[in-house]
């Protein structure tokens, strides 16, 4: 085992007016191995994007630790912090909003190289061309502006921008949600082949379960700021243990009429509680069909219910009464 990054009791609370806080990430423990693709799923507002952003240092965590390659990021020296900004990169959801419309592709992709002072001017120029080729863009287009490209091509630009500085960990924050079905596959295949060639670690944040299943090695399910289940993708999809995971998986319509007719929906009633509210006990209990009295009082902890299969639920394992 060779951990790339470890999150220990990570918390990211955003303050609101009148002393309230949004508990976007509320005590997450997670280890991502080097070279692994970790898929993070959950519904909007569950904190999955915030988790990714806190991990790479866009937000300063309000609690807990981010351990990168064995060293706490809070203890980084100035030089280490600067290097960390190169070693972790992010690809955002909306390639229409994440690329500066006033910069041409050459400047967008090359900016990271300049900031980190990598290579001579000529080397940088070569690197940008090579990167464009790698992601399937014609280097002849390097002097064009983002608006001259389609959504899928823009996402390729965003990928090139992220990878040009040779990062070790890339957070892919819903990288395909804004794209059409026929283009999604192209981008996912690209991300996967780049990982095989360069040996990247991915944190793949998405709500599209079938894509997450396809690309991930392990998958984590988030609910209201907490990771409620972690398992290898095959284990998670074939044997989901948390009632929320079961509900989530059973809610996805299957693009096959016969299988779709046979699908048993276990969609939970009601909606996600507000992340502002303080919830005693299990966060899912208000929607959980198996909720018992003890779910109200006990805060379940992430427990190994089966080998390498962690779940935060009073039904599995004995929760400590923290």
């Amino acid at each position: 085992m060779n951990p790339q990054v470890e999150l220990r009791r990570l918390r990211m609370h955003f303050p609101l007016a009148r002393g309230r806080t949004v508990k976007a990430v509320d005590g997450v423990d997670l280890t991502i191995q080097r070279g692994e693709t970790f898929g993070l799923v959950g519904e909007s507002g569950c904190g999955k994007s915030t988790l990714g952003r806190t991990l790479i240092g866009i937000y300063r965590p309000t609690g807990g630790e981010v351990i990168f390659e064995g060293k706490n990021t809070a203890d980084f020296t100035k030089a280490e912090t600067r290097a960390f900004a190169r070693r972790v990169q992010i690809i955002f959801q909306d390639p229409y909003a994440s690329l500066n419309p006033r910069m041409v592709v050459r400047e967008i992709i090359g900016e990271g190289l300049e900031i980190h002072g990598l290579g001579t001017r000529k080397e940088r120029h070569e690197k940008v061309r090579a990167m464009m080729e790698l992601v399937g863009l014609d280097p002849e287009y390097q002097n064009r502006f983002p608006h001259e490209f389609s959504g899928g091509q823009r996402q390729r630009i965003a990928i090139a921008r992220a990878l040009v500085v040779n990062p070790e960990l890339v957070v892919c924050d819903e990288p395909i949600s804004a794209l059409d079905v026929s283009i999604q596959g192209q981008i996912v295949n690209l991300l996967k082949s780049l990982q095989e060639r360069i040996g990247l670690t991915y944190l793949f944040v998405a709500h599209n379960l079938s894509m997450v299943k396809y690309i991930s090695d392990r998958v984590g399910v988030m609910y209201l700021g907490r990771l409620v289940e972690i398992a290898s993708k095959d284990e998670l999809f074939s044997n989901p243990l948390h009632p929320y995971t079961q509900a989530l998986l059973s809610s996805v319509p299957i693009p096959d009429p016969k299988l779709e007719a046979a699908r048993v929906e276990k969609t939970p009633e009601g909606e996600l509680p507000s992340p502002i509210a303080t919830i005693e006990g299990c966060a899912f209990r208000s929607r959980c069909p198996f909720a018992q009295q003890k779910c109200r009082t006990m805060q379940p902890v992430l427990t190994e219910a089966a080998p390498q299969h962690l779940v935060m639920c009073t039904l599995h394992g004995t929760p400590s009464g923290s």
Partner: protein, 343 residues
């Protein structure tokens, strides 16, 4: 479903263009279809394929300018809606034909109480007293699953969650028991578990009132569960139309096949690279009078880039705009069939 009854809505040779600085965009090109009473027809396709523009044209919501309906007829109950005056449309829209939009935040009036918004559509079409419309609004909110409807009538859209707002949209859409419901990506903006709740609700009300529905979506899972018939659009054209099972199990157009194949299924256990449709959708400025899919089609032939295929009927209750079904294309067609068999 109801061949004897005849269609309640028919669209014939509809063409819609948009005038832009870059040129004239041919968004919908010669689209024809009909809808029977109580039927659910899905229109699937990617962004820019013309599915929403088709719906807009039916509802008289095409923004003119820049839009322009070049030709075609939309017939509802003996009336041609293309030539209809705004007054005619005001009578039909929200009463006989209503629409559920994708984004309930932008389609509800943010400065109007939801009770007023529901009652507006009731008063618009029937002489109703305030007490009656209030009672009906409460009934509708209860029907779409909003708890404590009496109390919530006086609230504004921002006081509701996305899922609840979409429920309100549905209440407004069904307020007058319409004959036709047009649902344009009704659950795309919602989360998985909420999507499943909302779509179940749409199906329930649609069945309860025997409403015909045009379901516009790119989610092939929703279509698999709900549609009787499927219309596949690409580049502003209907490239294939057929009954649901035929479309899913015996697709006749390479694009239909590619689209179905490009969706990884949760039930897929294999770890192969994702099948994709290479290339990009066509630009609809000056589209050639030939197959729009030719540049991305793995089975492309010379004729595909030269002439529009028109429609073939290779299997019953189907039409497909593809040269592979021409007699002279037997060999290439076999390649296509063989590829399908191994997929």
């Amino acid at each position: 479903m109801s061949e004897a009854v005849g269609p309640i809505l028919s669209v014939e040779h509809l063409s819609v263009v948009f005038h832009t600085y870059a040129g004239i965009v041919h968004a919908v090109r010669d689209v024809s279809f009909s809808l029977s009473k109580g039927e659910v027809m899905a229109i699937v396709g990617e962004s820019g394929s013309g599915k929403s523009v088709t719906a807009q044209a039916i509802m008289g919501l095409t923004p003119v300018p820049p839009g322009e309906i070049r030709s075609g007829a939309v017939t509802y109950g003996g009336t041609d809606l293309i030539g209809a005056t705004p007054g005619d449309f005001a009578r039909i829209r929200g009463d006989r034909i209503s629409m559920i939009f994708q984004d309930p935040m932008t389609s509800l009036n943010p400065s109007m109480k939801i009770g007023t918004q529901i009652r507006e559509v009731l008063h618009q079409h029937k002489a109703t007293s305030r007490a009656e419309s209030r009672a009906r609004a409460i009934e509708l909110l209860r029907l779409v699953g909003i708890p404590e409807p009496e109390a919530r009538l006086g609230q504004y859209p921002h006081q509701f969650s996305g899922g609840m707002r979409q429920r309100i949209m549905i209440a407004i859409a069904i307020a007058n028991n319409p004959d036709i419901l047009i649902a344009d990506e009704p659950t795309t903006a919602l989360d998985v578990t909420i999507q499943s709740q909302i779509f179940r609700l749409i199906r329930e009300v649609q069945r309860m009132f025997g409403t015909a529905m045009i379901l516009i979506t790119h989610d092939l899972g929703l279509v698999a569960g709900a549609a009787d018939r499927v219309l596949v659009m690409y580049g502003g054209r209907v490239v294939e139309e057929g009954k649901r099972d035929q479309i899913y199990y015996k697709p006749q157009h390479p694009y239909t096949f590619g689209l179905l194949n490009a969706v990884p299924k949760l039930t897929d256990a294999r770890d192969q690279p994702l099948r994709t449709i290479e290339g990009l959708p066509p630009l609809l400025i000056d589209p050639p009078n030939a197959c729009a899919f030719a540049d991305r089609c793995p089975f492309v032939m010379k004729i595909c880039r030269q002439l529009d295929p028109g429609y073939f009927v290779p299997v019953p209750d189907n039409r497909v705009a593809c040269w592979l079904h021409h007699d002279a294309a037997a060999r290439q067609r076999e390649t296509f069939m063989a590829t399908k068999a191994t997929a």
